[in-house]
Amino acid sequence: MNRKKLQKLTDTLTKNCKHFNKFEVKCLINLFYKLMGDVTKRQGVVTGLDRNAFRNILHVTFGMTDDMIMDRVFRGFDKDNDGSINVSEWVYGLSLFLRGTLEEKMKYCFEVFDLNGDGFISKEEMFHMLKNSLLKQPSEEDPDEGIKDLVEITLKKMDHDHDGKLSFSDYEQAVREETLLLEAFGPCLPDPKSQMEFEAHVFKEPNEFNDI
């Protein structure tokens, strides 16, 4: 890719992305192509980061562990649903990831948690996401009982219209009351520590990239 093209790409992306300045966009693009380079070496020519590569990044860089959530995060990044993340999806995604406002984050998180994409987080979806959240107690008659109970507790807390499922407005209201509930069903945003590390690592004055 030549310098002119890169310059143009940087400009467009900077224009469309409100949370990053030009320098930061440039850093991210560089990072993307660096990562792409690794991937390409292994898999031949691809247009973007595929699911596995992206999950690897999530895991290594942002410390995420839950497979299901990571899949959902990938879908959140992959706007055009083509199974890979291209450079603009990468920059947009990270802009939300790192700098998103509460509104943006809520929207994103809700999409992550709404597993079937029907606009609601149903009891079943909650159960699915929470099923590993309690330590199994051997004495417990029904190991799922605790989870079910937890789902009920969550609904009681968040389901304001009492329809047995969470709409976006339910979710939004609950999160505005208590920000801790933003990632209620699993960590789908980078935790503050790894975020800081990532930013410090990527946005430093990169001498080696100056000449690209």
Partner: protein, 1043 residues
């Protein structure tokens, strides 16, 4: 006897030598039995009664030698029995207070002589002779008795045939019999305390069954045994569990809790691990032990206890009905029962139930009693060295084939003992203002929140980060200001989890945990628990966190927790003060990049929380110092310049707390804080106004500060705040500030301008004491000026002031007397005071125990006496008043002495009164005070002496009491007032020739000559007068010599 004494008798745990028998019913019973045995010995076994002990039993007795009569040789302090042994030694030898007895016959007689003090003597004897058997029979027999069966003893008898050893053997047997008897007897006693046995449990279950079933009115949904088979002993537990004292297992389904599997054992009732498979039960204990089934259920199921309380009456009736046959058949036992239950303050129902259980127990006990003692006897052989402690619960288990009632109660006792210990340690006394910890009433009706919270805490404990956050958020929705919820969290073990979460890396969990801790730490008990669990160091660490909202929450929680001394110490000890001071600095770094993190609060918020925490911490002296050293004052001063109301309150609060320290006041002046305090007096916020006024009150001790308040225009807002009297705290602070400010004259003038004095007079009635103290203090300062005194009088302020003289608050009394003293300077005011009998009230305050009040009252009397009409007559009218004043000269307080001297000066101006106080011995008392270095006392003492010289031969008397020489030394003082008073006194004293010589000898002339040149006319005159007296004497002597 030996075994019973070592094992059954309850010794106090004071170690050997000084151990005594506790006065318990059991011990008393044992002693009674021993007494009966000894008393009847002489009749039953006349032969053995003559046997001479190997060693005498020796103890300290309370008996009097005179009590011994026939058969004894009695002298004043010794008694010897006529009965003697082969060697002619008396069998009883008594030398006050030690007594030695060497035969049963003598013991019997002694008890007879002791009459109603038998018990005491027996106790003293047994306490002094811990092993009586050994002393009676000698060492070898003691061993025989201890470790042999009857067979061995018989062997011994056949071995040696001489009559003496036969007697010895007989006695050994008798003692052994007594021993067994005592053990039996003590067992009967202990057995009255039994609480559970198979039959009692069976009855409980049957009874509950009848009240169980579906529907709202029943106590339980169902109650069944796990096993249908009942053993012949009434137990249903399998035999290998019976060995452990377990009797049966019951499945109970209350209305509000899931099915409980309960073990009923001899030790009590508890929750077990539950049913695993068909017929298999997890026997492990899962919960606390309760004394019976009903108590257990009451504590476990709220619904049950609720219904039970309704059903109580019916239930009781039923139980009584059931008891009827028992009562008739077992009269004897039931007689003993009320005695055992007496004094226990348990609820009626419980009482009934104890009775219920006990009656049945007692009935069942009869047959098993013998069995128990045999076991005991055998057991003793097998394990000789068992301490009596072990025996309490342990030993019988090995041999007991089925549930032993005897063991039941012993174990029960142990359980209740340990429970007592546990509850004691939980209520350790706190050094501070905190109330003692009390656990929630065990069987109080618990609301449903309690159980919900308990469940949430369970998820907190056993959940991953996601579940934890959900549980925390959900927990936060409860009304955490309510004590039930606070204690529910604690009782469920939630505090430990919440505090542990603070130690993790999970920011969200920490935030959630702190949000809850912040709320529940309003509860004093929870605060202490948090400190005990080591929560404070963790919170202090969080203050370093990069997330501002975390810092805020931690600081706010610290602010709540650090309300008592130990907590404040912990904050300081872990470096919290420095970190909190750093938080104050946040507000300045506004250049920081705006972070988009979710966990960031505003900088002002961080500073506010920091100030809040410092406010709490600043109640300790050492913390104030630490805040200052950490550079907190300039930061506080800077924050004070901001205009956020929320921020200002904790900042001013901290300053106000700290202003009690001298170096803070200097720093406050230096940092120009007063200006801002004054500014904030005009704020809208009442609390802020209050703290500002309070801070001014603290700082205005300093003159410069008082001027600063005036220069910054603080007096006007203070005066206007006086008009709002609804908020008493603020009023107290404002009046306090006015009081201290009015120490400066310029300020008083301003206050008069603002009509504050009139308002203050209006506040003399219907105000709380804190306000009154300050109002009166302020008036006292204002009344130093004539104009203000007139205002006070015209506004009718004298009457309420005099009324306040009957109070008991010391601070108030001191201020009131000062204010009255100030008013009394005005003759017109004095008339009013006299009319209101104020002088008498002042006079009676001389009897107040507090020296400050005494002194202040005595000072106030001076202007009163000066300005009252017919003052002499008035003073004399107080019966015993003059004597009282004179006797106050014996006080230890210099201030009281000075004030009383001043009062005496005024009293002595009336000749008649002077005569009276002279009669009361004022001269020697004053003379005794003469050796002092206190200038204030010196001055008033000298004045008093000069006034007292005016009567009779008082001048001479002062000389005789050696008051003159010390007075001369007063002239070396630096205080001109002392000089004047002393010169006047010396002038009076020099009228007497001997005094003249003493004055001269002590080198007064040179100093007096110097003082003649003083600018003070009175001093000039007195000094000159004194010199002229001395000179005249010298001339007279010269004249006499030459003629």
């Amino acid at each position: 006897m030996g075994v019973a004494l070592t094992r059954s008798a309850q010794w106090t745990a004071a170690g050997y030598g000084t151990r005594t028998l506790e006065t318990t019913p059991l011990n008393e019973a044992i002693l009674q039995e021993i007494i009966i045995f000894i008393e009847s010995f002489i009749y039953k076994h006349p032969q053995e009664a003559k046997y001479v002990f190997v060693e005498p039993l020796e103890w300290k007795t309370d008996l009097d030698p005179s009590a011994f009569e026939l058969g004894y040789v009695v002298s004043e302090t010794t008694v010897e029995s006529e009965e003697a042994d082969k060697n002619g030694q008396p069998l009883l030898f008594f030398s006050v207070p030690q007594i030695q007895v060497r035969s049963f016959g003598q013991l019997s007689r002694l008890l007879f002589i002791a009459k109603d003090r038998k018990l005491k003597e027996a106790q003293a004897c047994i306490e002094a002779n811990r092993n009586p058997v050994r002393k009676i029979l000698g060492f070898d027999y003691n061993a025989v008795i201890e470790d042999s069966s009857v067979l061995n003893i018989l062997d011994k008898i056949t071995e040696d045939n001489d009559p003496e050893s036969q007697v010895k053997m007989k006695i050994a047997m008798l003692l052994k019999e007594l021993d067994l008897h005592l053990l039996n007897h003590s067992l009967k006693h202990i057995s009255l305390e039994v609480s559970l046995n198979p039959e009692a449990v069976k009855n409980d279950v049957e009874l509950l069954k009848r009240f169980s079933g579906k529907g709202e009115e029943t106590v339980l949904e169902s109650i069944t045994y796990t096993s249908d088979y009942e053993f012949s002993n009434g137990c249903r537990a399998p035999p290998w569990r019976q060995i452990l004292g377990e009797m049966c297992y019951v499945l109970v389904k209350p209305h509000d809790v899931e099915t409980l599997c309960i073990t009923c054992s001899a030790e009590g009732v508890f929750l077990n691990g539950g049913k695993i498979d068909e017929g298999e039960i997890n026997y492990e204990r899962k919960g606390a032990i309760y004394k019976d089934l009903i108590t257990f259920l009451k504590n476990t199921s709220a619904k049950f206890s609720e219904v039970m309380s309704k059903e109580q009456i019916r239930f009781n009736e039923l139980q009584n009905g059931k008891d009827q046959p028992n009562e008739t058949s077992d009269k004897k036992e039931s007689d003993a029962i009320p005695k055992a239950v007496d004094g226990s303050d348990k609820g009626m129902l419980e009482k009934k139930q104890i009775n219920f259980g006990k009656r049945q127990m007692a009935k069942r006990l009869e047959p098993s009693l013998n069995w128990k003692t045999t076991v005991d006897y055998k057991g003793r052989r097998s394990s000789l060295r068992d301490t009596h402690k072990e025996k309490r619960g342990g030993k019988l288990e090995k041999s007991a084939p089925s549930v032993s009632p005897g063991k039941t109660q012993l174990a029960c006792k142990n359980v209740s003992k340990t429970e007592e210990i546990v509850s004691e340690s939980s209520s350790e006394s706190e050094e501070d203002e905190e109330p003692p910890d009390h656990r929630q009433e065990a069987n109080a009706d618990l609301p449903s929140e309690y159980w919900q919270i308990q469940k949430l805490v369970k998820y907190l404990k056993g959940g991953n980060q996601i579940a934890t956050v959900i549980a925390l958020c959900s927990l936060k929705d409860f009304n955490l200001a309510q004590e039930t919820c606070q204690l529910a969290i604690r009782d469920a073990g939630g505090l430990e989890v919440l505090i542990n979460l603070l130690d993790t890396d999970e920011v969200k969990c920490k935030i959630g945990s702190l949000k809850i801790l912040k709320e529940i730490s309003h509860n004093p008990q929870i605060r202490r628990n948090i400190v005990d669990l080591g929560g404070l160091p963790l919170m202090v660490n969080i203050l370093d966190s990069p997330h501002k909202s975390l810092k805020c929450l931690a600081a706010e929680t610290i602010a709540n927790v650090a309300k008592f001394r130990r907590a404040r110490w912990a904050v300081r000890h872990h470096g919290g003060i420095t970190k909190l001071v750093v938080l104050l600095d946040c507000a300045q770094n506004s250049t920081e990049p705006v972070q988009s993190s979710l966990y960031d609060a505003r900088d002002e918020e961080v500073a506010r929380c920091g100030a809040l925490a410092l406010w709490s911490c600043s109640k300790s002296y050492a913390n104030k110092e630490a805040i200052r050293k950490a550079g907190g004052i300039p930061l506080l001063a800077r924050l004070l310049k901001t205009s956020h109301g929320n921020m200002l309150i904790p900042v001013v609060g901290t300053l106000q707390e700290c202003a009690s320290e001298e170096n803070y006041r200097d720093a406050i002046k230096a940092e120009r804080i007063i200006e801002n305090l004054v500014k904030n007096l005009n704020s809208e916020n009442e609390q802020l106004q209050e703290h500002c006024a309070m801070a001014i009150y603290q700082c205005a001790e300093d003159e410069e500060t008082r001027d600063l308040v005036r220069l910054h225009g603080g007096l006007k807002p203070l005066a206007s705040l006086l008009n709002n009297t609804d908020n008493k705290e603020r009023l107290a602070a404002v009046t306090g500030a006015i009081w201290k400010c009015s120490i400066s004259k310029e300020n008083v003038t301003k206050f008069r301008e603002y009509k504050a004095i009139e308002t203050l007079v209006g506040l003399l009635t219907d105000q709380p004491e804190e306000v009154l103290v300050n109002v009166v203090g302020a008036l006292g300062e204002c009344c130093q000026e004539h104009e203000n005194r007139v205002i006070v009088r015209k506004c009718g302020g004298i009457q309420p002031l005099v009324n306040l003289l009957v109070g008991i608050n010391q601070a108030l009394l001191v201020n009131v007397t000062k204010a009255i003293a100030a008013c009394a300077v005005e003759p017109e005011s004095m008339i009013i005071i006299a009319r209101l009998d104020g002088v008498r009230l002042l006079w009676s305050l001389l009897k107040n125990p507090h020296p400050d009040v005494k002194a202040s009252a005595a000072w106030a009397l001076c202007p009163c006496i000066q300005n009252a009409k017919d003052a002499g007559e008035m003073v004399r009218s107080f019966v015993g008043g003059l004597e009282l004043v004179v006797n106050l000269l014996k006080s230890d307080s210099k201030e009281v002495l000075a004030s009383v001297c001043a009062a005496i000066t005024n009293i002595a101006k009336d000749q008649e009164n002077l005569a009276i106080i002279t009669d009361h011995g004022v001269v020697p008392l004053l003379s005794k005070l003469a050796n002092t270095n206190n200038d204030k006392l010196r001055r008033h003492l000298a004045e008093a002496i000069s006034c007292c010289c005016m009567w009779g031969r008082n001048r001479v008397a002062f000389g005789e009491n050696k008051a003159v020489a010390p007075l001369v030394r007063y002239l070396k003082s630096n205080d001109i007032n002392v000089h004047r008073a002393t010169a006047q006194a010396l002038y009076q004293l020099s009228e007497d020739v001997d005094n003249c010589i003493t004055i001269h000898e002590n080198g007064a002339v040179k100093m007096l000559l110097h003082m003649v040149g003083s600018a003070d006319e009175d001093l000039q005159e007195a000094a000159a007068g004194c010199i002229s007296n001395i000179r005249r004497l010298a001339l007279a002597t010269e004249k006499a010599r030459y003629t």
